[in-house]
């Protein structure tokens, strides 16, 4: 379309075409907003529906036609749900498990990544290749041998059984190594010449500079573990260790059609991650990008 304007020689034509273009840009912006608003609405419906329904009475959730806002708000649904299953305990379990895994992942992967990125030692490349090759193996392949290992260790239904096997994948090490490689050597060399040990270099140069990468890995790992279902499904079988994902699934089994209570439980399980996400979004997005592209 604009190729026509280029062939037009006169000033008049150019002027009107530029106002035409402005009008087209405006139209484009308006239609973009409309489209985005519709998409955002569709995206948010299930989440709003979950939250709003969690406050409805048991009659109202089955209303036809359905209501959007609860006629009478029933916050007591939450108390009822907690009376039937200890969701507070589940949430604390999840928080403890996800946080501990995250701390282990970030510290041990950070250290190992430093060794791979900066230190010279025999067998480094071979060892890194072993790390790399395990990245191609989907987690579901290892759960069976891991489960047998846990059984032999007597770790079934324990926190350590839920935490330790999940905390040492090659993923974090790989991710951080790629990031450490981008930190200029000169900084560390200068410190080394001044007599700083490798330990000082790691803690005082690398760690501060890698802050965003460490934060990304931390947020990513935390949200991932919060969402993790398969491993705890196999490992835990009592209220004392159930994370929220498994607790909620069991609750579903008992209260199959009590939708208002189910939605209250689902809301309790979801709101904490949404809160974490809203506050750490920047790092999470960065985490997706660097883990997605994985330094490739």
């Amino acid at each position: 379309m604009s190729s026509i304007t280029n062939t037009n020689g006169t000033g008049m034509a150019r002027k009107s075409s530029s106002s035409k273009r402005r009008r087209r840009d405006l139209l484009m912006a308006v239609s973009s907003y409309l489209l985005l608003a519709v998409l955002a609405f569709i995206t948010l419906i299930p989440i709003f529906w979950m939250i709003l329904s969690s406050f409805k009475s048991q009659n109202e959730v089955l209303h036809f036609p359905p209501t959007w806002l609860p006629e009478v708000w029933h916050p007591d649904n939450y108390i009822q749900a907690i009376n039937f299953a200890p969701f507070g305990q589940y949430l604390l379990n999840t928080l403890f498990i996800a946080l501990t895994i995250t701390v282990i992942v970030v510290t041990t992967s950070g250290m190992a990544a430093y060794a791979f990125a900066r230190l010279r030692f025999r067998g480094r490349d071979l060892l890194f290749l072993v790390y790399l090759s395990t990245l191609m193996v989907p987690g579901q392949v290892t759960i069976i041998p891991l489960f047998i290992l846990m059984r032999n260790l007597g770790w079934i239904d324990t926190y350590q059984g839920l935490i330790i096997p999940q905390a040492f994948s090659a993923f974090g090490t790989f991710l951080l190594r790629q990031f450490f490689l981008t930190i200029p050597y000169e900084l560390e060399d200068a410190a080394r010449i001044d007599g700083a040990s490798r330990f000082r270099c790691f803690f005082q140069i690398i760690v501060p500079l890698a802050g965003p990468a460490l934060a990304s890995l931390a947020v990513f790992s935390f949200l991932y573990q919060w969402n993790n279902l398969l491993w705890p499904l196999i490992m835990s079988n009592s209220d004392a260790t159930f994370p929220i994902a498994v607790g909620l699934r069991n609750f579903q089994g008992q209260f199959a059609n009590v939708w208002n209570l189910l939605m209250a439980a689902a809301t309790m399980a979801t709101i904490p991650v949404i809160a974490v996400y809203l506050f750490t979004q920047r790092w999470f997005v960065k985490g997706i990008v660097i883990s997605g592209f994985g330094g490739r």
Binding site: T43, F147, R249, I274
Partner: protein
Amino acid sequence: MADTTVIEPLTPSHHAPRRTRRGLNERKEGWVALFFLLPNSLGFFVFSAFPIIAAFVLSFYDWDLLLGARFNGITNYLQLFSDDVFRSALLNTVYFVVVSVPLTVVIGLAVAVLVNQPLRGMAFFRSVFLLPYITLTVAIALVWKWLYLPDVGLINQVLGVFGIHGPAWLTDPIWAMPGVILLSIWKSFGYNMVLFLAGLQGIPQNLYEAASIDGATRWQRFRYVTLPLLSPVTFFVVVISTIGSFQVFDQALVMTQGGPGVATTTLVLYIYQVGFQSYHMGYASAIALVLFAIVFAFTLIQFWFQRHLVTYE
């Protein structure tokens, strides 16, 4: 973009003096390296590397938790060929991948292009579109299960407004898988959007300006500048979406438990059923290795393409 991260910062000026010190450094740094590596490598070998090898070994055993292990050669693998549920699980998973991957990729790209415009409020929309990805799958699958209910579910009620008599969704063998797929698309298009956004922002702005000066329309700019320059990213997104989709589990477990019949039994769900509900650990390992073979094949394709694909950079 991400290519920059793999460049080993070993400049020639560094190289020459280093080499003379290398032998000494290597010996001296061995202990330091051990200190840094040990906490992670110990856990890695016990809980990541060893179980992979164990899974291979296990797949040649008949191992049911109560009776113990018995070597049975390739029997497990032969059994796969006559196992109808396995065949269904494999086909269902392929069906899931073939439908959900193209849709999440296309929607992810379209949304990325939309929110990449220099308009106000785009950050808000980006946050919204990524929100489903972080919501707890179990919780949200529960919500969708309700939305899908044939009579009281919101989806069929909305369809009813338009005079469409909606299907029975999760209880209908034909519509159950589309139901699982729809939820999965809703949940993961935002993830692809983030990757595409990173790719879009890596395209030099002056190319668009040049194209505009040459009189390219919006569509032409997208078709002849954005798409070709984005092709490595697109390819990458397709591969990781494919690998991720082959591992679909949570939503199928919560919404349908693989049913009705075996209509939504996926590979991982079947591994879970065989391994942890029937306790045939050896056979479950064999199925898991089939999954591994599929993922491995896609990883190889990806490596091959990375070497041969023109990246325009």
